[in-house]
Symmetry: D2
Subunit: 345 residues, 4 copies
C-alpha cells in the first residue's frame, strides 16, 4: 500500500467522511441541491462563517477559485496576487479564461504578499486610468502555496488596503483548515472577521472525497450567482453526496482534527530532517507543506519509498506534504531513511 508525501490529494477519504457518503445513499432526494443534506449543511455553514453568508459548492479548488472570481469580475478588471499564486500558475489560466482578466503579480516573500506591495501594484496599475485594466480583486492563499501562514494582522492589513481602494478580497482557502489550525482561531475569525469578502473553503485536500465551498461574506456579491454556478459547471445533480461530507466535517470539527494532525506531522518531519547536514528549510514550516532543501543521497533514499515532488530539482528543493492519514511511523521512517542516507556518504 502506497503512502507518500507527494500531496494531500494522494490521500483518500477519511473514515468519518466515507461513512457520511454511504449514509446519504438512501432513497431519492431532490436534485441540484434541494436535498435534505444540503439544507442541513447550509445551516451549519452559517453557524460557522456568519449568518449573512451565501454559500455554494464546487467540485474542486480550481473551480472554487475561478468561479468565485468570475462572479465578481468583469473583463476590464484585473486581479492582484502573488507571483506564486495557484490561480496564476497552476490552474491553466482557468480564471483568465472565465473572466478575461489579467493578473498583476506581486513578488512574494515566503509565499506571502504585503498590504504595502498591493497598494503599490494598485497605484501603478491605475496610473494611466482607463488605458489599463482596473484592479478589482486581491487574491491570497491561506495557507500559502509555500506552506506559510498569514497572521491575522497581515490579513487585516490587506483587507484595509482593499477597502481603501474598492478592491474585493478573495482568499484561496484550499488549505484554510491547516492555516486556521496553525493560527489557533475559528474559521470565522480567520476570514469574515478580518475582512475577507469571498472565500474558497477547502475540503478535498483535508480528507474529503471532493468538495470546496464558495462563500460570499457580502450577499450582494452573490447576486444571480445561482446562474453562474450552474453555467460554470459546478451544479452537482446528486449534490447530497458532496454536501453530506461537509456535515460531520464542520459539525464535528473534523476539519480541525485532520488539519491539526497533518500540521503536527509536518512539524515532526521538518524537525527530524533539519538535524541532518545539508538540509534546511526554504520557507518557514507553518502548516502541512514543508519546502525543504535536501541532499541527493537523501532524495535517492526516500523518494522511491515515499514519493514526493521536487519543486526545484536543480536545487534539491523538495515539497513534503502531510495529510490527515500521515502516521507517526511513516514520518519517523522517512527521517530514518534520510538519516541512514546521510551517514552512508
Amino acid at each position: 500500500m502506497l503512502k507518500s508525501f507527494a500531496s494531500d490529494n494522494y490521500s483518500g477519504i477519511a473514515p468519518e467522511i466515507m461513512d457520511a457518503i454511504v449514509s446519504a445513499n438512501h432513497g431519492h432526494q431532490a436534485a441540484y441541491g434541494n436535498d435534505d443534506f444540503t439544507k442541513e449543511v447550509q445551516k451549519i455553514l452559517k453557524q460557522t462563517f456568519g449568518k449573512k453568508i451565501e454559500a455554494y459548492f464546487a467540485y474542486n479548488g480550481t473551480a472554487a477559485n475561478s468561479v468565485l472570481l468570475k462572479a465578481v469580475l468583469r473583463s476590464h478588471h484585473a486581479i492582484i496576487c502573488s507571483d506564486v499564486a495557484h490561480v496564476a500558475t497552476q490552474e491553466v489560466g482557468a480564471t483568465n479564461n472565465l473572466t478575461g482578466c489579467p493578473m498583476f503579480l506581486v513578488s512574494h516573500h515566503n509565499g506571502k504578499i504585503t498590504a504595502e506591495a498591493i497598494q503599490e501594484a494598485y497605484t501603478k496599475a491605475t496610473f494611466w486610468g482607463h488605458h489599463g485594466s482596473l484592479p478589482k480583486v486581491v487574491s491570497i492563499a491561506q495557507s500559502t502555496e509555500l506552506g506559510t501562514v498569514y497572521s491575522l494582522e497581515e490579513v487585516r492589513a490587506i483587507s484595509t488596503v482593499c477597502k481603501a481602494n474598492q478592491l474585493i478580497f478573495h482568499m484561496d482557502g484550499c488549505r484554510l483548515p491547516n492555516a486556521v489550525a496553525a493560527l489557533n482561531c475559528s474559521l470565522k475569525e480567520a476570514t469574515n472577521d478580518v475582512g475577507v469578502d469571498i472565500l474558497s473553503f477547502g475540503g478535498t485536500k483535508n480528507g474529503l472525497m471532493m468538495g470546496e465551498v464558495m462563500i460570499f461574506f457580502q450577499p450582494e456579491l452573490a447576486m444571480e450567482f445561482a446562474y453562474i454556478h450552474k453555467q460554470s459547471l459546478q451544479l452537482y445533480s446528486k449534490m447530497r453526496f458532496l454536501s453530506a461530507q461537509f456535515i460531520p466535517y464542520l459539525r464535528d470539527a473534523l476539519w480541525h482534527r485532520y488539519a491539526s494532525h497533518a500540521n503536527a506531522m509536518a512539524k515532526r518531519l521538518a524537525k527530524g530532517l533539519l538535524t541532518l547536514s545539508g538540509v534546511k528549510l526554504a520557507f518557514p514550516q507553518q502548516s502541512n507543506q514543508v519546502f525543504i532543501y535536501l541532499t541527493e543521497p537523501i532524495i535517492k533514499a526516500t523518494q522511491n519509498v515515499y514519493p514526493f515532488y521536487l519543486w526545484d530539482p536543480k536545487q534539491n528543493l523538495a515539497r513534503l506534504v502531510t495529510s490527515f492519514d500521515t502516521t507517526t511511523q511513516e514520518v519517523d521512517h522517512f527521517i530514518e531513511l534520510a538519516t541512514q542516507a546521510e551517514k552512508s556518504i
Copy 2:
C-alpha cells in the same frame, strides 16, 4: 423514504458502484488521474468504444458537453442542434460562454432532428460567407431530451451530412445507456461505428455517484486537451473515486443492466397509464423518460406520493422518469393511484 419519478438524478448510487468507491479508498494513489483505477478504466474504455479513442472524465453532463465542444470549436464557429437541446436550453449557456459560439436551432420532431434539416440549416447559415458564424458542430442527444431514441440509420444519416460539410458530430449521451439498451446494440455500434466524432457518455443518471466520460473518436480532435480539461475545471485531484465507478459499470455491463431496467419500468408505467381515459403520450416511449398528458385528478393523486415534474402545466404534460432503482411495486402503485383518481371523478 422518498421515491420519485422526477429525475434519474433523484436516485442515489447503485450498490455495485458504491462498493467500487469504498474499495478504492485504500492508501495513497497518484493524483490527477495517474492512479491505478484510471489506468485500468482507460483500457476498458478502449475495449468498449474503440482502440483509438481518447477519453477524459467530467464531473457532470453539462461539463462533458460544453468542455468537449470547447475543445473542437473556436469563437467564429456555430453549433447546429435541436430547439430542445439540453446544451441550448438547460445549461445556462455554458457552451456559449466557454466557446463564444451561437447555436443554430433546428425544430425537433419527437425530440429529433433530421439530416435534411441539418443540411438546410447549414446551407442557410453559410449563405453570406464570412459575415455569419461558420457551423462546425452538429450536436444531438441520444436518447433525446424528450425520451425518444434515434435509430442507427438516423444517426448514420446525420453523420453523412456532417462529413459532407466538414461538421464535427457530437452526441450528448448523458442517457446513452438507455438508448443503447433500447437499440439492442453495443456502445461502439451506437457511436463510433455510425460516425460520431465526440461523445459525452453518461454515468450520473444511470446509477453512478457522479461522472461522465468525454470521448474523442478521432484522436487529433483531442490535441492539447489535457490543458483544456484542467482549465475547464474537470481535472479531479482524487480521480480514482470517479474512475473506480466506471470499472464495474463498463466491465460488468452494469450500464446495460441499469438502463434496461429503467427502460422496462418506463414501458410498464406508460402501458399502465395509457389505459386511462384522458391520458396519452406526447412522444413515443422509447427509453426511461415518459412524456405523457395526464389529467388533473391523476396529477393530484400521484404527484405528492411520487414527485415528478410538469413539463407544461397548462397542458398537464408530465415527465415521468424511471431509474435503476425504480421498482415494479412503485410503478404499479403509481398506476393504481392514477386509476383510482380517474374512477373517483
Copy 3:
C-alpha cells in the same frame, strides 16, 4: 463610375462630411477623445438625445451593437431578438463571443417582433429558473433588417414589456436616421422618449466615412464603460476624425437630409417597379431598403448595370438599397431597364 443598389455601404462620403474631416486635420489635438471636436460633439449629442445620456464612439455597426451589449450583460444572461436580427445572423457571433450569451430568437413578422412575442419568449426562457440563461436584453433594429419601421407605439409597447420584466431595451439603429425620417419625429422622440435604454446610432450607412455612436440613456448602465470601450477595440486614438463628422451630421441635421433622400429614392424605385408584372414587395417599403420579388429577365437586365444582392436567389427576391447619393436619374434608369426587360419577353 460604379453606382449600385447593393448597399448603403457601397456609397462614399457625403461632401459636407468630407469637408469636416479635412477641416479637422489642423495641428495637434489630444488623443483618445480629449480633443476639441469630441468635446463639441458630446454637447450636441446631449442636445439631440437628452441631457443625461452617456455617449461613446464605435468604428462600425457590429462594434456598436456588440460592445453596448457587452456593457450590460454577463455571461449567464441572454438576449431576446428577432430571427433575422443582424446581431444574430450577420455579425459572426460578435455579441455571443464578447458576452458569452446566447440569443433567444423570436419569429419576425415583416422584420419586426411584438411585445407579446417577447413576453412569451421571456416566460418560456425563465420556466426552469437558474437552469437556463436569464434574458436580460431585448434588441430590435430600427429600421429593421428588412426595411420596415416600428411605429412609436410598437416601440413603446416593447419598452413596457422590458420594464415589466427588468429587461434592458437595445435598439440597433444603424439605419435609425432612415426610420426617424420615415416616422417624422425627432431622434429623441424615437428613442429616449419611448423607453430605449441603449442605442447604436448609425453614421456609416448614411454618408459618413465611418462611425456610430453608442448611447446609454441611463448613465448607470455606462459604469466603468471607458475601460470596456478601450478593451473592446473602439477607442480611436485620432478620435477627432470620427467625431468631427458627427458635428455637421447632427448640428445641421444632415442625417435627416441624407436619410429622407434615400427613403424617397427607395419609394420612387419601389413604385416604379411595382407597375411591372411579376414584381411584388416582400415586405412593406418604409425606409431605404426595398425587398422585392423581381423576375429573371429584370434581374438579368439590371444587376450588371446597378449591382444588388439577391436575398433569396431561388425566389428572385432582391434587396435594393438606396443611399444619400442615389439620384433620380439612376432610379428612373433602373426602372427603365426593368421595364424594357419585361417588354422584351
Copy 4:
C-alpha cells in the same frame, strides 16, 4: 495651433495620405474590402512583405495586436512578453479578454527582452506540464514601448528560440516604420526574413488617419481568419478609405520618409536637451520616442507650450514623442525654452 511632443497620435494626417482619402471618395465601391483600392494594396503588401503573406486591416493598434493573437491562440495557451509590453499594460487586457490567455512577463532591459530570458520563462512555465498554461506566442514590440530598437540579430535570436519551442513569434509593429528607418533595412528584412510569424504593421502613429495591417507570414496561421476578422469588429464596410491610405504609404515609401523624419527630430531633440545639466536619457534614443529625465524648471517651462507626458512624475521622467509633422523650429524652440529655464535657476 497646438503642437506637442505628447504622442504621435496627437498629430493629424499627412497631406499625401489625406489626398488619397479624398481621391477614394468617388462613386460606389464594393463594401467590406471587395473594392479596387483594397485589391491594389493587397498586391503592394505582398511586394513589400513577401509573396505568401496574408494581410488584413485593423482600425487601430490594440485591435491589430489582440485580433492577431486571438487568431493563433486558444485559451489554454499563454503569451510571453516584456513587463512593459503595450499588450500587457496599455490595452485594458484586450488580448486577455479576446483569448482568455494570461501573459507571462519577462523583465525588460531598455524595453527589450532577450532570447535567453524567453527560454527561461518557457522552461519555467512548462515545468508542471498541463497544470499550467502552455506558452504559444512570444510578443515583442519593434520599436519598443521605451523607444529602443531591437537589432536584426536580436530579433533573429528570439525567432530561433521560438522555433525551438514551437512558439509563434508576434511583432507589435505599431511603430515598426521608425524601427526600420533606424535599422536602415527593408520592411521585409526586419520581419519576414528574421522569422517573425505575425505582425501588426502600424500606420496611425505615422501619418495615417487610421489603420494597421495584420500580417500572417505563414498563411496556415490565417485559416478561417476572415470570420475572426469580422467577429473581432475589424471588418470595415467602407474599407476603401482605409486601404487607400496604404497605397501611397507603401508604394511611395512614405512610411519611411515620415518615420525617418520623426526619428531625426527625436535625435535632434535628445541631443539638444542632453547638453543641459540634470538631463539624462532613461533609455537609448533610437527611434521617435525619447525617454529622458528632465528637471522641474525645464518641465515647467516647456510642458505648457508643447504638451508631453511624464512617465514617472516622481522622477521627472518625460516621454517626448516626435512625429511626421514635427518641425526643426519646434524642436529648437523646445530646447531653447529648456535652456532658458535651466539658466534662470
